[in-house]
């Protein structure tokens, strides 16, 4: 473990941009979470029997303007890249960074998603099915829309950012890992600022992928906003969704020198994988991940004020994470999940949930897990936040994200007052 007195480059959060099922800005997200509102809606269009999907609930980003993106930029973007670009536009404006500051080799991008443009792939196969000609639906930009690093590359082109690109495409841990890799790049001194985050676009194919694994919520169609139910005894699976979350990370000294508004410090990160099973999470793997992030931050478990859980509302996932949290933190540290508010936003989940955490630091309030009423007895004994927001000292936060493939990622965030 590094001693805190050792000189190391510190990393500040100076800009945030969000498109979520609760609205088209960070302010919309925070307003929704503060009001304990759900962004989940019914999907009548999924009633179509030809889709063969069981779930009818989703978390959609509504009414964003594709036309606000210049055609030449938009032509290489599927919906996922458009969402990422618009979130990044808000984050850059929020950071106050000038073009001159951004457009140097010292600025990079760390951005991910579970998939590239799934709607582009679906469109292509619809054309192939119709015509039976393999090349029929291919145009010059098809690959550019579906490639795994489509968000990162499109952000680079859109804002003229010439430094490194890291594409953290690790499903539901994509954006948390992206923020972690951005933090590491600055900490290592190879970049001064990193545009970090993740995005996802929702199509019927994505819903079907989780549906076939019996991982989607199907019991609450009559009352869509009562699901998902993380940690709750009556949970029945995830609500698939889409969105984008972008964080601007900067060398803390440089951010202070330019007089930037600083939301918080990223002070710890760890990522690992279970190496045991593709879909069944391992308590040991999750525990190691959280402990690794604490070690990187030079903090002890008792120094953490709050844990923002991945908890998506599946029995296996919630159980493993709560047991791992109990292992490392015991029964007193408050825990909640934002997925009751926004659903499971896949590659965007970690960044959007972390933005909600920034609201908690600002408000000095801990937001509860929406739809959690009775904690399931078959999981770890942890302190759940239920009902209304709870006044608290919110200075240090652990943020978890876990993904199929056994990928785990944890961040440690510290309020700048505690830094």
């Amino acid at each position: 473990m590094m001693d805190r007195s050792e000189k190391r480059i510190r990393v500040a959060i100076t800009g945030i941009g969000i498109l979520s099922p609760l609205g088209l800005s960070k302010a919309d997200l925070l307003a929704g979470v503060r009001a304990n509102r759900s962004g989940i809606r019914l999907m009548p269009e999924w009633e179509n029997p030809s889709l063969g999907i069981n779930t009818r609930v989703a978390a959609i980003v509504s009414d964003f303007s594709e036309q606000s993106i210049d055609r030449k930029l938009r032509r290489t973007m599927s919906r996922v890249a458009m969402l990422s670009m618009l979130a990044t536009r808000e984050a850059i404006a929020d950071s106050g960074l000038s073009q001159a500051e951004l457009q140097t080799e010292r600025s990079g991008i760390s951005y991910g998603s579970s998939f590239g443009g799934t709607s582009t792939i679906e469109d292509y196969f619809r054309g192939y099915q119709r015509n039976g000609v393999l090349s029929e639906g291919v145009v010059s930009t098809t690959f550019l829309k579906v490639m795994p690093h489509t968000c990162a590359a499109n952000i680079a082109i859109s804002f003229g950012i010439p430094g490194r690109i890291v594409a953290s495409c690790v499903a539901c841990a994509s954006s948390t890992q992206a923020i972690g890799y951005g933090y590491e790049a600055i900490k290592l001194g190879v970049a001064d600022r990193m545009i970090c985050g993740g995005a996802e676009e929702l199509t019927p194919t994505v819903a079907a992928i989780f549906d076939v694994l019996n991982a989607t919520s199907t019991s609450f169609h009559a009352n869509p906003q009562s699901t998902p139910r993380p940690f709750d005894a009556s949970r029945d699976g995830i609500v698939v969704g889409e969105g984008a979350g972008t964080f601007i990370l900067e060398n803390l000294e440089l951010a202070r020198a330019r007089g930037a508004k600083i939301y918080a410090e990223v002070c710890g990160f760890y990522t690992n994988n279970d190496a045991t099973h593709m879909t069944n999470p391992s308590v040991e793997g999750l525990s190691t991940c959280m402990q690794g992030a604490l070690d990187d931050a030079c903090l002890k478990p008792e120094q953490i004020d709050y844990i923002n859980a991945h908890a998506a509302g599946t029995a296996a996932g919630d159980r493993a994470e709560s047991l791992a949290i109990a292992n490392i933190f015991g029964t007193e540290t408050p825990v909640s999940s934002m997925k009751g508010h926004v659903g499971h936003l896949m590659g965007a989940a970690g960044a959007i949930e972390l933005a909600a955490c920034m609201g908690m630091i600002e408000d000095q309030l801990l937001y509860p897990t929406l739809n959690l009423q009775n904690a399931s007895p078959d999981q770890g004994d942890i302190r759940h936040l239920i009902g209304q927001a709870e006044p608290a000292r919110v200075g240090t936060i652990v943020k978890n994200s876990f993904a199929f493939g056994g990928v785990n990622a944890s961040l440690v965030i510290r309020s700048i007052k505690d830094a």
Binding site: K72, V139, S140
Partner: protein, 88 residues
Amino acid sequence: MYSNNPEMIRAEVNKIFVDLFELDEQQLQPESHLFNDLGLDSLDAIDMAIRFQREFQVKPSGEDIKNVQTMADIYSLVERYMPQLKSS
């Protein structure tokens, strides 16, 4: 499918340009340079060729595409391929 009337071909080509590249029809003058005036680039040129192939069932050669500079060049290229086009 398409008439070999030059006016109609020009109208069809313009329609494709408006749809594909989100241009105003008024911008599409015979002397308009594809790259300098209309802001197109190499990716657009590929998509233009693909679209012509699908709309007109003709495949201009790579050399033909390379020589195209203005809207007038496009109109004459399509006209040149007219014998391959079906009359309405």
